[in-house]
């Protein structure tokens, strides 16, 4: 690969804002949710007791829904491209999954060139979209129609909400580890969390297929 110099704009301003909003809401939701589901006193007390924690959980839930919804409405094109990327699974993605992107020491092998998101990130994207939808669908009956819905359905909502949340929390923990801690991949951290840019050489290496479609703008 030829040497490239410069930087790549990976995530726009609105995308980064949405990511931040969703992230903060998610952390609050996860904390309060764990707090009152398992009745952990000190977490509940952080939010002023179970009843208040639940109130915070519900309104954080509204932010969790409205944030991405607004983003999709305002940036449908961006969203459509994202969906296109994460739902396009090619041989290269299978190859990535087989070697786990080279992140696991004993899985040796050539990592195929990747899109804007590698196969792992694609999986995470799908998990988050489906998971959020399930959380929203089960969450609102538990809040708004708790008096009306039959107990069997309420219990179903609670268990779906619980297990989906558990999976999402684990997935997001993994995502955090790779994006912020792992030395090989934390180089991407700034592109989502700070200014949106990533070093061109790294991008050309990690997201070769995507990088090749970019246009160069001279400063």
């Amino acid at each position: 690969m030829s040497e490239v110099r410069g930087k790549v704009l990976k995530h726009g301003e609105q995308t980064r804002t949405m990511h931040w909003v969703h992230l903060v809401a998610f952390i609050i939701l996860a904390l309060t949710g764990i707090g009152f589901y398992f009745n952990i006193g000190f977490i509940n007390n952080m939010f002023g007791g179970g009843a208040n924690a639940s109130m915070v959980h519900r309104w954080a839930g509204v932010v969790f829904v409205v944030g991405p919804a607004l983003y999709i409405l305002l940036n449908f094109e961006r969203f459509a491209r994202f969906v296109d990327t994460i739902t396009t699974i090619t041989k290269d993605d299978i190859g990535w999954l087989k070697t786990m992107g080279g992140y696991i020491p004993f899985l040796k092998g050539e990592v195929p060139p990747q899109d804007k998101y590698n196969a792992g990130q694609k999986m995470l994207g799908l998990i988050i979209i489906i998971g959020c939808l399930l959380l929203i669908l089960t969450g609102f009956p538990m809040w708004l129609w708790r008096a009306v819905v039959p107990p069997a359905f309420l219990a179903f909502c609670y268990s779906v909400h619980f297990w989906v949340a558990a999976i999402l929390i684990l997935a997001v923990c993994g995502h955090f580890f790779l994006a912020a801690i792992h030395p090989k991949s934390r180089v991407e951290f700034a592109s989502m969390m700070i200014d949106g840019y990533i070093d061109a050489e790294i991008s050309a290496h990690h997201n070769e297929k995507w990088f090749n479609t970019l246009e160069e703008v001279k400063e």
Binding site: K7, E77, D84, P150, T213, K218, E219
Partner: protein, 119 residues
């Protein structure tokens, strides 16, 4: 220093996939709502079934009126109002009737007194 950006192209394929995802969201919501509605509709169907179970049982009974129950007639004649069928007799009043609320302490006293008389 050069800066790289995505090209502004927006393909038909991307548009359909984005819309498709939104449509799928709506469909999943609909399925979930239908599931919830069915659960709601089914949740108390058992009440109606148990009710009709009792009404069917009533229809199958040989005797369907309380005052024709032979053992009822017997207990009045033998015990509650000896020799006749007379509800609210003195004994029936003592055994089968009660009082409520603030009259209860007085009733309990009466019952205890009655036991002393009997003893």
């Amino acid at each position: 220093m050069s800066i790289f950006r995505e090209k502004g192209t927006f393909t038909r394929r991307q548009f359909f996939k984005g819309s498709g995802m939104l449509a799928a969201t709506i469909v999943i919501s609909g399925v979930f709502a239908k599931f919830g509605y069915d659960a709601w509709a089914a949740s108390d169907a058992y009440i109606e079934k148990r009710i009709s179970g009792l009404y069917t049982l009533d229809e199958k009974m040989a005797i369907r009126k309380s005052h024709q129950n032979p053992e009822i007639l017997q207990i009045y004649k033998d015990f509650l109002s000896p020799g006749e069928v007379k509800p609210v007799s003195e004994k029936a009043h003592h055994l089968l009737h009660t009082k409520y609320g603030q009259d209860i302490p007085e009733l309990i006293k009466e019952l205890h007194a009655h036991q002393h008389d009997a003893a």
